[in-house]
Amino acid sequence: MPVQVNLPTVLRAHVGGVKTVTAEGSTVGEVLRFLVDRYPGLSGQVIDPNGSLHKFVNVYVNDDDVRYLSVLDTPVKDADDISILPAVAGGSTGAGEHHRR
């Protein structure tokens, strides 16, 4: 069934510059694999080499982070709104005193 997928700026170049694309699938995993098949530039960006959700992205079904649901097995219904955003993380680990100036 068709669902709308909202993509972050950093991935839009791989889908022709648009913000939202239509995909099909009954689970988040099927939807993401559909997108990778249609837009090969997304390969390695949303699914990691082990077939898991890539750690550098967050995926939401409507308002919910799929990592708190069933991740790639999370069911998707007609008219669900799927969003992909970059996972935003970092920290001072590895920052040494040599960076003091």
């Binding site: 967050n58 001072s92 680990t93 920052a95």
Partner: protein, 135 residues
């Protein structure tokens, strides 16, 4: 250049100070072309650590929707370094998600907080000016 109104600058630094002893983080909503920030979204640091931060994904989604609804975009992220300078760490560089974003560091290593902004493109760090109109 990143243009940060003084009220948002103060909100960002206050969020970082409130987060001590842990790192604090948040997102910046603005115009991706001009680099002008119009909204500051303080977020929870899910890593709850003095050395790492993770922006709460659900707060990120809410901020993204709010910014888009206002005709803006999320154009950057800020976080504090509690004991090191305002310079991206190897962790920051490795995990920088978007070459178009502004990466703002708030160092709390000294009494006076230090704010700096960077672009990180394919692992290369370049500092950019931070303009706070009126200051």
């Amino acid at each position: 250049m990143l243009t940060l109104p003084s009220s948002l600058y103060d909100q960002m630094v206050a969020h970082c100070l409130t987060g001590l002893p842990e790192e604090a983080c948040g997102l910046l909503g603005g115009d991706p072309v001009s680099g002008h920030v119009y909204r500051c979204y303080p977020t929870e640091n899910l890593a709850a650590s003095a050395k790492l931060y993770t922006v709460d994904p659900r707060e990120h989604l809410r901020a993204d929707r709010d910014a888009e609804g206002a005709g803006l975009s999320i154009i950057g992220v800020f976080h504090s370094h509690t004991h090191t300078d305002a310079y991206p760490s190897p962790t920051d560089v490795a995990q920088a998600p978007d070459p178009g974003w502004h990466y703002v560091l708030v160092s709390l290593a000294d009494i006076q907080p230090v704010v700096r902004s960077y672009r990180i493109v394919e692992g290369v760090i370049s500092e950019e000016p931070v303009c706070v109109p009126g200051r």
